[in-house]
Structures are given as C-alpha cells and as structure tokens.
Symmetry: C2
C-alpha cells in the first residue's frame, strides 16, 4: 500500500483530532491590531510551534521580529525532491461588533455543517489544514517533498515585518515554490487556484489654486479653481472606451491569450454576482474585456477618495485653495510601479494648466504577481483538487494585491500558488465568521494528494 493511501487513511481516522486542534487554535484571541492581545499573539505562536514539533517537524523556532513573532519549522529529508514553503498567518481580525455574534467568537461552536469562530476560515482553518496534511504524510515515516512552514502573526495589519524576515533568512527559506492557502474557493464544489494577483500604485494628487479660499463671486471666472481642474485631470485619465490614458501605461501589459481567456470564461462568476455583492446598479469598465478579465487581468485606475473646499451643510461661496484626490492603479504583469509613478507625473505635466501648481506623491506600491499555470506545483495542486472534488479546478486571477506574494517572489525568487478552502459566504472579517467543515475536510485530503503529486514527475 503506497504512502499516499496510508496518509489519507490515517487522516480519515484522525479527522476529529484535526477539528479539536482547530478549536484549540481559534480559542486563542490572537488579534494582531490590538496591543491588549499581545500575550494571546505569543500564545498562538507557541501553540503552533508545539503543534509543528508534535507532528514531527524539525528546527521549529519562534522567531521574534520588531512586531509579532513568526513560527518556522521544516522537514528537509526528501533528498532530490522539490522544496515547498507553506505560508500561513495565525493572527485574526478583531471580533467587534460583539453583539452581532450568535456565539462567542473565541469559543468554536459547530452549528449545522459549519464551525463558527473568529479565524475559523481566515486563516487558522487553512493553517490547520496544511499542518494536518503534512502530519498525515509524516506519520508514514517521511514527506514526499521538503516542507518549510512560515506562519506569521501580522497579516491582518499588513505584514509589516515579514519582508525583513525573508530578507534576513533568505537561505533558511530557500524553496522552489510557495503554497499560500489564504485564497478561497469561488463557490462550494468549485476548487480554485489563484495564479495571479494585481499590483498596486497608490498616489495622492494635490492641485493648488489661490493661496487661500477666495470669494467665488469676486473671483469666479478668472481665478483657477483647483477642484474643477482636479476633476478635469481625473476625467482625462480614462478615454471614452475606459482605457487609461497615462502615457505608456499599457506598454508592459501582456495581452491575454485565447486559452487563458477561455479558462477565465469558465469561472462561475457572473455580472450579477458583482452587482449583488456591491449593490451597484450596473457594471462599467474597459471595452473589449469581460468583467472577470477587467478585475483580474487588466489594470485599473480608481479615485479612492477626494476632498476640497467646503463640504459641510448648506452653501459657502468659495473657490477652494486646493483639492486633493487619492488615486490608485491596480497593476498587472509586467507593469512597474515606479514607471507608473513617472507616467502619472508625465500626464500631469502634459495636462495640468499653468495657472495652478500640483504635486504627486506615491503612498504605496507593489508589483503584480503571476505564476505559471504549468508550474509543476500548480499542476500537482490541480490534479489533487480534481482527485478530491471530481472536477477540475478553476483558475482565477485575483483583482487584489497580496504584498506577501510579491515579497516571496522578489526576495526568495519563488512563485506562489494560491488556493484555500474558505467559501465566499464565510463572513471573514465580519461577525459569525465560519468554516464549512465538509469543504475543509476535502481540502485537507486535497493537500495530502498535493504533497504526493508534487513529488512525482508529471
């Protein structure tokens, strides 16, 4: 009997054990944003280190950082086999508003098919799925691939110390690929692989007109109005087809090939889903692309906020002195944030009238990430998901940005394959967060298959 079957058998026999462990982990209120939970954060890290030790991982260490600690453990005896780094985070969002929870957020309660607790889905459940899969294989004496766990405690506050940790430990963390199970499934029974994330370039654009607010009667018609001019600049950033007009903006953007467009078209996400999720009256976007392509595979430019002049109740007849907009672009491979910055500056140089002054400040940025869908790990994961669900996974480009994935690529030179077993209605970050247990159990089984698949030559 091959190890794979034995591992799956072992897991099935000990499923309840995994669930009990998850219940213990979610009981630790490791809220990363709240200093009052500092002890809980450390307790969660210690609990995970103990768990990794118990299942047979080696070199288990709780690394202190300038922020919350990072838990590391590896098993590197699969000589000749590839090395997999499994990423996870043990911190969670605050549970507030508490009055909306039907059960205590830090006491797991099973109701129907779901386990309710803060972090059950995002992502203590996913961390425990990974550990349980590795445990099942290790119980057979060895792992089919080399495995390194990196489990941080600051994902919900933007992972401010992870990149430094990767930098300082780049030899320790050397790997062929990262598995990041912090993505979710697009629907129940639709196993999902996320292979691309958009990047980000986030700016503040300020336009300055008169040196102070001036009377719109006495000066209206001659003095440049920075709010009107800011609107004109922003309006000009898209053409009538929804394309972005910054000079050179699309130069590095790759066209989608036919196969990828066909794959994206198979995703069970409809325009109605976007409308329902946002309450918008209609969809918009770049001509020539489907909604899914626009969100995942095309760059976008959005105003995130703007302010100028008088915004209180009633009327105040001024020409404001200045106007400011937060403007961000979601980037796709292989756009470079620094170049986009220059493109925005160039656009302003070309279009801003001489009667005003303006300034562009870059607030944050990160490049887009893409993994080859034919990467051996991606293929191994796809086969594992198909074996478990009896249906081929869908491939998704995520519209958001995950700086961790970019960091892994940049510092460790390792692509990330993203998956996960959370569902869209898990209410992550909200009250009554839950984990759909039948899906979670399948996920663990799929991860066991993945470990063995990845060791095989395809």
């Amino acid at each position: 009997m091959p190890s794979r079957s034995q591992a799956i058998e072992y897991y099935h026999a000990n499923q309840n054990n995994a669930l009990e462990a998850l219940k213990q982990l979610v009981a630790i209120p490791s809220v990363s944003t709240d200093p009052a939970h500092k002890t809980d954060i450390h307790n969660a890290a210690k609990w995970l280190a103990q768990r990794l030790t118990n299942i047979g991982m080696e070199h288990v260490t709780v690394y202190e950082t300038a922020g919350h600690p990072i838990v590391y453990g590896d098993w590197l005896k699969a000589s000749g086999a590839p090395t997999l780094l499994i990423y996870g985070h043990y911190d969670v969002q605050p549970p507030e508003p508490l009055e909306l929870w039907k059960s205590d957020p830090f006491t797991a309660e099973q109701r129907g098919d779901c386990l309710y607790a803060r972090g059950a889905s995002d992502m203590k459940g996913q961390v425990m799925a990974s550990i349980t899969a590795v445990e099942a294989a290790l119980k057979q004496g060895s792992l089919p691939v080399n495995v390194k766990f990196v489990i941080e405690g600051e994902e919900e506050v933007g992972s401010p110390h992870l990149a430094a940790f990767l930098d300082q430990n780049d030899q320790l963390l050397k790997c062929d690929v990262c598995l990041n199970p912090d993505a979710g499934m697009v629907a129940e029974n639709v196993p999902t692989i996320v292979y691309a994330l958009r990047g980000l370039a986030y700016f503040e654009l300020k336009v300055i007109g008169p040196e102070r607010d001036v009377h719109s009667g006495l000066f209206g018609g001659v003095v440049p109005n920075p709010a009107n001019i800011l609107c004109e600049l922003i309006a000009g950033m898209h053409d009538s087809q929804g394309h972005i007009t910054l000079p050179g903006f699309y130069d590095r953007v790759q066209a989608l090939d036919k196969a990828e467009r066909q794959a994206l078209a198979k995703l069970p996400i409809t325009d109605e889903d976007y409308l329902r999720q946002t309450g918008a009256k209609g969809l918009v976007g770049e001509a020539g692309y489907t909604a899914i392509e626009r969100v995942g595979a095309r760059p976008t430019l959005d105003v995130n906020g703007m302010i100028s002049g008088f915004t209180g109740k009633g009327s105040k007849t001024i020409i404001p002195s200045w106007a400011m907009a937060k403007i961000s672009m979601r980037l796709v491979p292989f756009q470079k944030p620094a170049e986009v910055h220059q493109q925005l500056v160039r656009y302003c140089e070309e279009h801003a009238p001489k009667s005003i002054t303006w300034e562009v400040n870059l607030l944050s940025s990160g490049p887009a990430c893409i993994a080859d869908r034919n990467h051996p790990a991606a293929q191994a994961l796809a086969r594992a998901l198909e074996t478990t669900w009896n249906v081929a996974p869908v491939y998704k480009r995520e519209g958001g940005s995950v700086p961790i994935v970019a960091d892994m690529q940049r510092i460790l030179n390792a692509p990330s394959v993203l998956t996960g077993f959370g569902l869209p209605d898990d209410a992550i970050h909200g009250p009554n967060e839950r984990l759909h247990l039948p899906t979670w159990y399948r996920g663990i089984e799929a991860l066991i298959h993945f470990l063995y698949n990845y060791a095989e030559k395809p």
Copy 2:
C-alpha cells in the same frame, strides 16, 4: 444762493459733528450674529431712529422683525419729485480675533487719515454719510427729492427677514430707485458706480455607486466609481474654451455691447490685481472676454467643495460608495435660477452613466441684477461724483451677489444704484477695519450733490 450751495456750506461747517456722530455709532457693538449683543443691536437701532428724528425725518419707526429690528424714516414733501429709498445696515461683523486689533474695535481711534473701528467702513460710515447728506439738505428747509431710509440689522447674517419686511410694507416703501451705498470704490480717487450684480444658483450634486465602500482590488474595473464619475460630470461642464455646457445655459445671457465693454475696459483693475489679491499663479476663464468681463458680466460655474471616500493619512484601497460636490453658478441678467436648476438636471440626465444614481439639490439661489446706467438716478450720481472728484466715475459690474438688491427689484420693482466710499484696503470683516476720512468727507459732499442732481430734469 441756491439750497445746494447752502447745504454744502452747512455740511462743511458741521463736518466735525458728522464725525462725532459716527464715533458714537461705531461705539455700539451691534454684532448681529452673536445673541449676546442683542441689547447692543437694539441700542444701535434706537440711536439711528433718534438721529433720523433729530435731523428732521418723519414717521421714524423701529420695526421689529422675527430677527433684528429695521429702522425706517421718511420725508415725502417733495411733491412731484422722485422718491429715493436709501438702504443701509447698522449691524457689523464680529471683531475677533481681538488680539490683532491695535485699538479697541468699538472705540473709534483716528490715526493719520483713518478712523479705526469695527463698522467704520462696513457700513456705519456709509450710513452716516447718507444721513449727514440728507441732514445738510433738510437744514435748508426741505429735501429736493422724497427720501425713505431702510436700515436693517441683519445684513452680515444674510438679511433673513428683510424680504418679508419689504413684502409686508411694499406700499410704505414704494420708491423710484434704491441707493445702496454698501459697495466700495475700486481705488482712492476712483469714484465707482456698481450697476450690476451677478446672481447665484448653488447646488449639491451627489453620485452613488456601490451601496457601501468596496475593495478596489476585488471590484476595480467593473464597479462604477462615483468619484471618477463625478469628476467626469464636472469636467464636462466646461468645454475647452471655458464655456459652460449645460444645455441652454447661455440662452438668456445678453451679449455685452461695445460701449459697455469700452467702459469696463477703463476700470483700473488689472490681471495683476487679481493675481496679487488671490496668490494664484495665473488666471483662467472663458475665451473671448477680459478678466473684468468674466468676473462681472459673464456667468461662471465653480466647484465650491467636494468629498468622497477616504481622505485621511495614508492609503485605503476602496471604491467609495458615493461622491458629492457643491457646485454653484454665478448668473448674469437675464438667467433664471430655476431654469439653471433644470439645465443642470438635464445635463446629468444626458451625461451620467446608467450604472450610478445621482441627485441634484438646489441649496440657494437668486437672480442677477442690473440697473440701467442711463437711469436718471445713475446719471445724477455720476454727475455728483464727477463734481466732487473732478473725474468721471467708473462703472463696475460686481461679480458677487447681493440678495437685497434682487429683493428690492422683485418686491418693490425698484432698481438699485450701488456706490460707497470705502476703499479696497479698509479691511472690512478683518481686524483694524478703517475708514479713509478724506474719502468719506468727499463722499458726503457727493451725496448732497446727488440729492439735488436727482431732482433736476437732466
């Protein structure tokens, strides 16, 4: 010896009397916006009623209103002569910040050629100039024209009860023309007649996209961004020549005739003045018009304020749920605010995408006002100013809006001629408000001439 010369002689002999009276009036801290000064407001009204009685005005009455009282007095024995209504206000702006005053704001202090006190220029000085001119004529036994004084106490808070007073007393206040000495001179030794004021139509335009702020990564590219769309709507309200594009916006706007353009061109106001007064880097505006024409004789559209989404420090990656702008138009004769409201609604109907909802709310409005520069009162005033200053007055269209003037036109069917003897550097509304006494003395003399001129058939 004709009455005119005797009146002027009387005035010269009693000039000090006028100054002492002004000092008494400015000593009453009649700050209309502050309830703590309610008694002072009433004292100022009583003081004026007494003064009008003392100089020989009749039917002197302090009319109570829902707000601060209005002082009335008339002299109507110039049978066959026209009736002049002289408008004034006895309330003043708050004096704060007190620490910036070099002398007590309510103790008039003469330094050099100027009298320093709150209200010295705006407009207790102008009220006293009018009363002193009428006094000088009355001392000769009769006035050459019929005169009615209406002196309110709420101009600095928007004259909320004046229109109702005019409405309720339209027979009492019947007149041929209003003299409003609340305008100023464009420069020393440049007597000024303001014959037109712009109107106003002030709106709030709100654009609503998703039902709440949504993630700009997950939804950027498909969900309508209300901030971007608001910018597009606002940008589209002007064409590349600076013309306003609301449908029908210029239909009622009168072209400027050559004579008027020549007269406006003579105003000693340069582009550099606008730049210096506002600190703007350059001027803008509608093609084909000078700065003075743009400010006074052409309608404008300005954003007075706008807000949307995240405007704090740093970056928040959202597509905002809504965006709002305060947008106001300065109107010229014979645009109608209600029609402009419809034009803005129509513009939004034609240009707003179907993916969002929008709403337009009218916050305040008033029509533009224009007086015929050939009106007998305007001509009489022009001759009076020229006699006094030995230079013809300049004719100015004011860019701002004075609702009182529109009310006089609408309710009393009387045009207003605006003048005044304040100077641009009088610091009205600011600390160390002052009145340039040599100019004020000349102003009184000019008003005496005006009374006699207006009685003459030109």
